[in-house]
Amino acid sequence: MIDKKIVQHIADLSRLSLSDEETEEFAHQLASILGYVEQLDKVDTSNVEPTALVAPARDPLRQDEPTPSLPPDKLLQNGPKVKNGYFAVPKVINQ
């Protein structure tokens, strides 16, 4: 069951900060979305193989042959902050 606590946990994992009202609102919305999907639980699937995807095709594979990479200036062009050829992000150290 989706409650405010779960919404807060998911927001933390995604580094999102939500106000109290937003938490309440999203808990309500997510609960109703999941409740809708949960109707599928009524179907008896005990004899059905778990399926990740419904498309019948096989995964296309690629030969191990290089293709050109983006030029660094192009690659970096959408970075909000770029320094010396790197993307600069707020200091994060995984403790």
Binding site: L61, P66, T67, S69, G85, A88, N94
Partner: protein, 476 residues
């Protein structure tokens, strides 16, 4: 109370492909930052990953090498985490349906054998590189993103740091024989994390485990595990509970340091990646992979002992690397004396390769050249010392054995006529010693042989000289 240590290892190996796992960028490090990236690496909207066939091929071969079952259907999953080393916000990995399962290898440590079960080998992509110490911001380089990895996970079957070391060495050897990873722990192409716990001897349930990371050398893994096993025993002895934690190995201080507590454990929210269809591997593919497998270390070692009569220790050294074993066998094509060749490969050849920090395959003294040199030794034309001298010169001047032996005048004098003249001369010049010898001081034999050897400039055949001296003095 007596405790038992229980260890499981997770090894990440970077595969030696020409391109990344899901796109055609080259997985190269050390190049300019952000020079090997594309929309797939960056996780840009609309980009789609396409799996590299060779990655699957390499993983199948590793699976077969350690006796795994290869799944006909395996599934890629998203491992979600929010950290800027992967721009997509998730790593593509395999979760509940990995490519390879249920393998095992035999290892030997401290004279005891152990069968180590391998739970799984799965495919995944590597993350990018973050630099924290050069700027007020953290700096991100996408080049390593998407480098293909296999993760090899054991069951908790290891019982000591030494066993972990032996297992790691065995896995490294197999990866190198297969030619799928260059196995450089310092550079991160091979990485090892460990789970370790202790339990009273006889107990079958697992104790609370701690995780060890940042062990950047094989010995580091061994030392960190030995340290942590002791720490847990001390904690148990003083009645402290063992807390589920992650430790980092600090090689400078030879101790572990807490990284983060498991309370904040990542919640990865795995789910099947909708961008990738299940990976289908049919029997024909597995058969083709099996057909291209090289002879693996364990079998090669047994064959060397059986076919060439080398000792188990020699076989260990000669099969340590595929390149060494190849060098040894190629040399045998030019000189049939297997023990002589084995001793030289283990001695001069490995010493030179180590000094020059190159593979034996890159030495100037090729197997053909070494074989020719050892042929001269085997037929008595060259003394062991002269051969070593010749080897040095051959290596430094990039020349054949015959040329060096001729130029340096290293050929051994085995001609009895010539040697016998010198022996007579030495005996004539040392009448006092001859008298003492005849009076029973037989250890003077060495003196005479030494004098003769000196007169030949070190080139006399020692066996012939000994024979001639004792004949002459014995006759009186």
């Amino acid at each position: 109370m007596e405790f038992e240590t229980v260890i499981g290892l997770e090894i990440h190996a970077e595969l030696l492909t020409a391109t990344k796992i899901f796109c055609g960028c080259a997985p190269k490090f050390g190049d300019a930052p952000n020079s090997h990236g594309c929309p797939v690496c960056l996780g840009l909207p609309g980009s789609l990953p396409v799996l590299n066939r060779r990655v699957v091929d390499m993983a199948i071969r590793m699976g077969l090498a350690v006796g795994c079952e290869i799944s006909h259907n395996s599934v890629f999953a998203r491992k979600n985490y929010f950290y800027p080393d992967l721009p997509k916000g998730y790593q593509i990995s395999q979760y509940d349906m990995p490519l390879c399962t249920n393998g095992a290898i035999d290892i030997e440590a401290e004279g005891a054998k152990r069968n180590v079960r391998i739970n799984r080998i799965h495919l995944e992509e590597d993350a990018g590189k973050l630099i924290h110490d050069q700027d007020a911001d953290s700096l991100f380089d996408v080049n390593r993103c998407g480098t293909p990895l296999i993760e090899i996970v054991t069951e908790p079957d290891l019982r000591s740091g030494q066993e972990a070391y032996a297992y790691l060495t065995a896995i490294k050897q197999i990866l190198e024989y297969l030619g799928i990873c260059d196995c450089n722990m310092e550079e991160g192409s091979l990485r090892c994390d460990a789970n370790i716990s202790i339990r009273p001897k006889g107990e079958t349930k697992l104790g609370t485990k701690t995780e060890l990371k940042n062990m950047n050398t094989f010995r580091g893994v061994e030392k960190a595990l030995a340290y942590e096993a002791l720490r847990q025993r001390d904690a148990a002895a003083s009645g402290e509970a063992i807390v589920q934690q992650t430790f980092r190995w600090d090689p400078d201080r030879n101790r572990t340091v807490v990284m983060r507590s498991k309370e904040e454990a990542h919640d990865y929210r795995y789910f099947p990646d909708p961008d990738l269809l299940p990976l289908v591997v049919d029997d024909a593919w597995i058969r083709r992979a099996a057909e291209t497998m090289p002879e693996l270390p364990a079998r090669k070692r047994a064959r060397f002992i059986a076919d060439f009569g080398v000792t188990p220790y020699m076989a260990d050294v000669l099969t340590l690397e595929a390149a060494i074993a190849k060098y040894f066998e190629e040399t045998l094509a030019f000189c049939k004396d297997a023990k002589l060749v084995a001793n030289w490969v283990m001695g001069e050849v490995l010493r030179f390769a180590k000094e020059k920090k190159i593979s034996v395959a890159s030495l100037s003294v090729t197997p053909r050249r070494l074989g020719a040199l050892l042929g001269l030794v085997a037929e008595g034309a060259l003394s062991a010392n002269a051969a070593k001298r010749a080897f040095d010169i051959m290596e430094m001047q990039d020349k054949d054995a015959a040329a060096v032996v001729a130029e340096e005048g290293l050929t051994q004098i085995s001609d009895t006529g010539e040697l016998s003249k010198i022996v007579k001369d030495v005996v004539a010049k040392n009448p006092k010693e001859v008298q003492r010898y005849k009076a029973g001081e037989t250890k003077l034999m060495g003196f005479f042989v030494g004098q003769v050897m000196k007169a030949t400039g070190g080139k006399g055949n020692p066996r012939e000289i000994n024979k001639l001296v004792s004949e002459l003095l014995g006759q009186g």
